[in-house]
Assembly symmetry: C2
Homo-oligomer: 259 residues x 2
């Protein structure tokens, strides 16, 4: 009998190799170049990250080892490996003898993450501008089309993920793997912060900013691209409710969360 038969239980995570054709672009490229799917632990990790990026996994959610093992068809050893990695990236926190939970970034941490992005992303954009090729321009445009399509089609999950993927795509264009890795982590953390502090009047991410940034990059104006990037990030951060007193429910949730 199949040991992992309970995989049918699948919950919100989904382990299937994404039959969806295009859309899975950047994320998969990263995974491939990262480790060539060397261990199956990466599979678990990527699944969790993806779920977070698509806002299917929420801050504070418990990530039980057995559950994940059943979902992905691997033993707890590998799940544990994945969780450990995620913990080091600040995406998950592990409480001793209690298990792993999706991180609940504090306000201070959120500010730090955005500060880091404001430092790194303009540099990335500038570099991408220098190295822009017609092929990249095409990829960028294709991405933007896909992004607005998902927005128009009210495909919430896809549009959230693609919004992050835009930044990753630019990082990829920059050809700087260190920045790329750093940004990848920052984006995932941003996604959690957005989930925690998103103001009710939402629509944080329009595709317009991305369009402008892409145009600046393609037209070779690196300084402008960097400036727009900073502005874009500022806008996102300001769309969050990061005043300590603002939304008591969210702060409560954070404060009361078992330590």
């Amino acid at each position: 009998m199949d040991k992992y038969a309970k995989a049918a239980k699948r919950k919100t995570l989904s382990a299937q190799p994404q039959a969806r054709e295009k859309s899975a672009t950047v994320q998969q490229d990263r995974a491939k170049q990262d480790a060539a799917q060397q261990h199956r632990a990466e599979l678990v990790r990527n699944g969790i990250v993806r779920a977070i990026l698509e806002h299917r996994l929420h801050p504070g959610t418990k990530l039980g080892e057995d559950d994940l093992g059943n979902i992905y068809g691997v033993s707890r050893t590998l799940v544990r490996l994945a969780l450990q990695t995620l913990a080091r990236e600040g995406i998950v926190i592990m409480k001793k003898n209690r298990g792993a939970f999706v991180a609940q970034p504090s306000i201070a941490q959120t500010r730090e993450v955005f500060e880091a992005r404001r430092l790194i992303e303009p540099a990335i954009a500038a570099r991408a501008t220098q190295r822009a090729t017609p092929a990249f321009a095409k990829a960028l445009n294709a991405h933007l089309i896909e992004e607005s399509a998902s927005l128009a089609g009210h495909d919430e999950q896809a549009s959230i993920r693609l919004s992050g993927d835009f930044h990753l795509l630019v990082a990829q264009m920059s050809g700087h793997s260190v920045f790329q890795t750093m940004l990848s982590e920052l984006i995932t953390r941003s996604s959690l912060s957005i989930l925690m502090y998103k103001s009710s009047r939402e629509h944080l991410c329009g595709v317009d900013h991305h369009r402008e940034i892409a145009d600046a990059i393609i037209s070779g104006n690196g300084v402008r691209a960097g400036g727009l990037m900073v502005h874009h990030l500022d806008e996102i951060e300001h769309g969050l409710e990061l005043e300590r007193s603002s939304n008591p429910s969210k702060n409560l949730e954070h404060i009361l969360a078992a330590r």
Copy 2:
């Protein structure tokens, strides 16, 4: 009978909790705040990182799971966890079915690491300047004294490590945990790069630059601190032989290294 008796075999790594009193400052603080020594895997990881920072472990060295397990007195499961983490940080590379090896950063990767440091460290220095307190100034001075002492005493290992710790100390002062984590990783990678590409006429790291930077920070001149930091990093990078043709032995070594 003690299962891990073979620990006596200890090689270059050393697992003992460092009876040395002071000097171990920054590195240990980081470890503590990171995970409160939550798992013993951290112990393995920290040991390896420290060995790299002190240039006791060289690029390309094989890190056998059993060996490490014996040295640190843990099972392969935990060793594996530590190695996996290090691999993700780019400090170690894992070859499928072949094992883990200390990374051999390429010239391109080295340039990327230093580019990232030149971006991040001035920002860190500026932030540290803003947040400087008398206590911090004192810590900084104490560190510099220790650093020159180790230099005067020709304590190679300590002086190399302390040189890196200076940067980490500034990052700690900045109070920005994201930058701190990023820099920590970059410094370890730098250490490997230096080991690979150090020009024969060495003496890369005098304490003078550090002194100047510290003075700028303490005197509240953040811009100057940032500028000096960039200059310092430039100097280090230029002390490396990063021309593709320069040192054929090193390039050969890198090119021929089993893929």
